[in-house]
Symmetry: C2
Amino acid sequence: MTAGPAARTATRPGAGTGRKPVLAVVGATGAVGTVLLEILSQRADVWGEIRLVASPRSAGRRLAVRGEETEVLALSEEVFDGVDVAMFDVPDEVSARWAPIATSKGTVVVDNSAAFRMDPDVPLVVPEVNAHAARVRPRGIVATPNCTTLSMIVAVAALHAEFGLGELVVSSYQAASGAGKAGVDTLRAQLAAVAGSSLGTQPGDVRRAVGDALGPFPAPLALNVVPWAGSLREAGWSSEELKIRDESRKILGLPDLRVAATCVRVPVITTHSLSVHARFENEVTVGQAHEILASAPGVVLVDDPAEGEFPTPADAVGTDPTWVGRVRRSMDDPKALDFFVCGDNLRKGAALNTAQVAECVAAELSTP
Amino acid sequence: MTAGPAARTATRPGAGTGRKPVLAVVGATGAVGTVLLEILSQRADVWGEIRLVASPRSAGRRLAVRGEETEVLALSEEVFDGVDVAMFDVPDEVSARWAPIATSKGTVVVDNSAAFRMDPDVPLVVPEVNAHAARVRPRGIVATPNCTTLSMIVAVAALHAEFGLGELVVSSYQAASGAGKAGVDTLRAQLAAVAGSSLGTQPGDVRRAVGDALGPFPAPLALNVVPWAGSLREAGWSSEELKIRDESRKILGLPDLRVAATCVRVPVITTHSLSVHARFENEVTVGQAHEILASAPGVVLVDDPAEGEFPTPADAVGTDPTWVGRVRRSMDDPKALDFFVCGDNLRKGAALNTAQVAECVAAELSTP
């Protein structure tokens, strides 16, 4: 065992002391946590000690971060002693219980669950869009959005800043890893079961081949698309669809934004895509939109269909930016743009945004 | 060889004579033609002789229709002698050249290509929506819509009849077979290449595994989605996207209908799906929409997400109707509905609609 966290210093990094803040990664062994450790190893090193935390089941495992093997600690009150910033990548109910415990010890929590996103005393932050909001955190918690919102919001916000957004109609093409490791394992097993067959041409033939091996999905995903993600909310809407609406409104500061979203799972391992119809207050041109997107931080514009250039998940996966292409002005509405975006749901959609927000907080803690 | 077509009677079926009309299937050996022969074998038998026609390359093959082996004839002027109705399921340029030759012999052509769809003297017909239009055909040609339009239009038209359609925003999830047999073969080969692997998590790993074997698609389709179908038209729009707009307007008789479509190919063998945001002139309720869709001819309503009931391509494939589910009233617009539709692109999307239109013409030819 390494020295227990209680043995560590509880001193906060004083303004200008130069001491690097201590980070805890809660949920270090999960699908997002795994990507987060990679990202922490790749980005500029702003952290002092990095403490890895997970459920007691995973405690004692050793994981590499910044090239060092580090032992995973079991989640406990003491694990937050001396921690300046804690990133939470855990289920909603775990965040709901443990984030207040961490903040009671003076730790700033950057939470990637849905537990606090709509709390008016918790900012919902995407650094390219509203980094300033992370500085005002009455509960000591900063939330980061759902992966589907994150896969498009940086591009949407850049266009909003110029044209003034009034309405979004979006349809998603969501990857299996949005449902965690079980989602990926399920899709891979289903693909192995149908590859080399002549399935997919008779009613229910894929369903029979896949059998009960649906994993976290309500229908087969191989050779199929499934118009459902999340849980049932009011009037037939899914939780995933309402997150896109509620989170976009909060991040953009547009409480009356009109949003209609349809969320569909597709047989892709990682990287969510969205088809976006965005209506603005002002007239738009493709030329202006291209200029905005080409210079927007965190956005890569790939838009030359004559040359086969547009974003696809297979190209965007494993990368940081939001990829945008197929930018068109609606033929019947000079105020509307249609475009297609791809974003790695485990990177910008989760781990990367969490890391970026935590770095904003670290910079603030270290600045006089 | 069977008796040449020139030897057959050229008599037209006189009103009330009771003689069943003679049918030619032009393009009998293609992907849609193959499904058409199945459909002709399953539906009420309104036809006398059925003559199978294809390119000289396929002539001489024997195919089963209505349980009888029938020799495929090479496309020629003579092949239309004595033919009352000819179904064309061939590339645009073949239709453009040969349909007028057929009509010059008195044959009514039901054409599934894009060659004549937007000709003001050619009706564009979906029997559940505008069967009456098939009776007025100045050029002797009736066109049937593109598969993507057909996969949604029956459901959209039923709602339009009640609420008055003003705007459509649609995103498609299009199957590989929309690109013909080459599309299906390509997807199956790509799936075999990636199944059992850990691909789909690193930039370009799927692209490298698939190599040049892209078939008719501009990017890998396995473990991917591709936001492109058809050819490039003005201002970044694809031909497939403009077809949805132009054809919906013509079929519904709404020349000013606002339509924005984004077409995306997904790794599904057969059955197109669309996410539809439809804005009407009048306020809507989900209850009314359910009533309309549950009783609309050619539509099956499957909408109980609490029980995992919604349409998916794997369930709709190989069936005739348009499957509709996920019906929601937009939270921010009491005049808009969001829903998800699936339709077999080779059946209702092509062969079935062609057969239905041809049957309308046959009934008219046989009626005093």
